[in-house]
């Protein structure tokens, strides 16, 4: 933002001198002239802007419009005003339950995954460069594996079968008498999903931390030592953390988006819809209405609410972490 404003100020001067007294110029005209002058920059921006508009902005606007309509894919959408939202908040118990589950989920996986990602990145950055790559790969891989692929492993571990790995050993050491249905029992569904998504949450945020930690200038640590840093914790707290603030912000934003969007894992592990809606996140509710009941208008309303929630949480994070 700062950059842009300086260039406009700079470019204003020649106009004023060449055209004599300053003409009362419309805001839009000025913008247009600016754009013409900087057309190379706009050209370079174009590919991203076009794709972003087509695949992000237009869909968001469409879904906001559709959320005020009744739309079943086959017939043309019909305007119904606010009734989708009214239904959503007043009449849909399962939606409220889904919000609860999603928030419960976001408040556990979000912070925990965030702290875990940072601590792991910090630990990895302590070990010699040679082995770093290996460890990074180990932690990063789960986050890029598709939910289907990883469910193969986790479904075996948590299988309700007597021969499922956890059940087998728990029965053998005598904690359980009969197999426990981890993926069917209402109490265990959310914890299982939390565990699995924590395992797979060392994604982009983790990589950003790692990159940030490697770029902290060495002289800061030396200066710190001269100034009397005694423990590694002090080093971490007073030097490392402030230096990787941008990455911390980025990681937090990614983590929130990630934890509000948990659905794939839930669907692969406990099915769609999950037993007694115990693993029913907002996204699962959205999927239910969009692709099982084909009520696209209602589903769009859910999407809009989810979008607003994410936006709100992101603003909150920016406020807390990104002061400058």
């Amino acid at each position: 933002m700062a950059m842009e404003s300086t260039t406009t100020v700079k470019n204003e001067a020649p106009i004023a001198t060449t055209s004599g007294p300053p003409l009362p110029m419309g805001k839009w005209k000025k913008l247009w002239l600016d754009m013409k002058r900087n057309r190379i920059s706009y050209l370079l921006l174009a590919p991203f802007l076009i794709v972003f508009t087509m695949f992000t902005i237009i869909p968001i606007i469409t879904s906001i419009i559709l959320s005020f309509s009744y739309y079943n894919i086959v017939e043309a959408p019909r305007f119904v005003g606010l009734s989708n939202y009214k239904l959503l908040f007043v009449d849909d118990d399962i939606f409220l339950k889904a919000v609860g589950i999603t928030l419960k989920f976001a408040f556990v996986t979000g912070p925990l995954g965030y702290v875990l990602a940072f601590l792991l990145a910090w630990l990895i950055s302590q070990i010699p460069q040679k082995y770093r790559f290996f460890y990074t790969l180990c932690f990063y891989t789960p986050s890029i594996t598709s939910a289907v692929a990883m469910s193969v492993v986790w479904l075996y571990l948590f299988a309700g079968d007597r021969k499922g790995l956890f059940n087998h050993y728990l029965i053998q050491i005598g904690i359980l008498k009969e197999p426990y249905l981890f993926l069917q029992n209402v109490e265990s569904i959310v914890p299982v999903i939390i565990v699995v998504s924590l395992w797979s949450s060392m994604g982009i945020g983790f990589l950003a931390f790692l990159a940030g930690l490697q770029n902290v200038p060495q002289d800061l640590y030396e200066a710190g030592k001269i100034d009397g840093v005694k423990y590694r914790w002090q080093e971490l707290w007073y030097i490392t953390l402030p230096s990787v603030k941008p990455q911390l912000l980025f990681g937090a934003v990614m983590q929130v988006v990630f934890s509000l969007q948990v659905f794939d894992v839930s669907m692969q592990l406990v099915g769609m819809p999950s037993p007694l809606y115990a693993g029913h996140t907002i996204l699962a509710h959205l999927y239910d209405y969009a692709f099982i009941r084909f009520e696209m208008g209602y589903a769009s309303a859910i999407a809009v609410i989810l979008f607003l929630m994410m936006l709100g949480l992101n603003r909150l994070i920016f406020r807390v972490l990104g002061r400058e």
Partner: protein, 244 residues
């Protein structure tokens, strides 16, 4: 999740004649639900088990399984070839002494749109495709190409007789055929599947009283059936049921 078998064998129904109201709270359905869930609560059969592997190891010498398990056992368990067979579904003895073996099967159907311009052609095509000759040819060519795992389970009895099924298995299939009963497809029917699973969960895992769990589920199912019927402008059930 297979309440349907128990339900149909008890003479129960999923819906009323018009598909407007769930019939899962009828006395027959409750009996069926009790029988089904008591298998897990009273008789403690395994709630979840990999039948294929247990059958191979001999831990589970008998089981109720579907067509894909049949294919799996006949292709992936060569050591068992000739040691096992397929039998009609276990069932309940009726008053007339016959055993009611009702169960469903894979259901597929062909439709012709009302507004289609080529109704006659579509009808000819459907007749040809579901006919014994086409089905037999398709089935045998598929099996010739891919082997036993592609054995065609056609719904055309005549074609089925001509396909290379084993004689004993074929007899079992044909006996079972008399008891074929699949659930009706109604508007909003997805809610029934979902809530039967939920009822099972409530009764078997959470120890809820059967009637309570069933009635709660039925209320939800009826709500959704009515909602969907209203959405499409169809006749809805009258005020015989008051949902709040």
């Amino acid at each position: 999740m297979n309440l349907r078998r128990f339900l149909f064998q008890h003479g129960g129904d999923l819906y009323d004649e018009k598909g407007m109201v769930s019939k899962l709270d009828s006395p027959e359905a409750l009996k069926a639900m009790e029988m089904w869930t008591e298998l897990f609560t009273n008789y403690k059969i395994e709630k979840q088990a990999d039948f294929y592997n247990r059958f191979r190891s001999g831990e589970m010498p008998i089981g109720v399984a579907d067509y894909s398990t049949y294919i799996l056992l006949s292709t992936a368990a060569p050591e068992l070839t000739g040691w096992w067979g397929m039998k009609p579904m276990p069932g309940l003895k009726q008053e007339d002494g016959r055993i009611n073996r009702s169960t469903g099967g894979l259901g597929q159907t062909g439709i012709i749109f009302k507004d289609s311009k080529m109704k006659e052609e579509a009808w000819q095509f459907l007749k040809w495709w579901t006919g014994a000759d086409a089905q037999e040819r398709f089935g045998s060519e598929l099996e010739a190409l891919l082997g036993v795992e592609a054995r065609w389970n056609t719904a055309n009895v005549e074609a089925l007789n001509r396909l290379p099924w084993e004689q004993k298995d074929l007899e079992a299939i044909l006996e079972q055929w008399e008891w074929f009963r699949e659930r009706e497809v109604v508007i909003g029917g997805y809610y029934t599947t979902r809530h039967i699973a939920n009822m099972w969960n409530e009764i078997v895992l959470n120890g809820k009283v059967t009637r309570e769990a069933v009635e709660e589920g039925v209320r939800e199912i009826n709500k959704e059936l009515r909602k969907k019927r209203e959405e499409f402008g169809l006749e809805t059930s009258d005020t015989d049921r008051l949902d709040e």
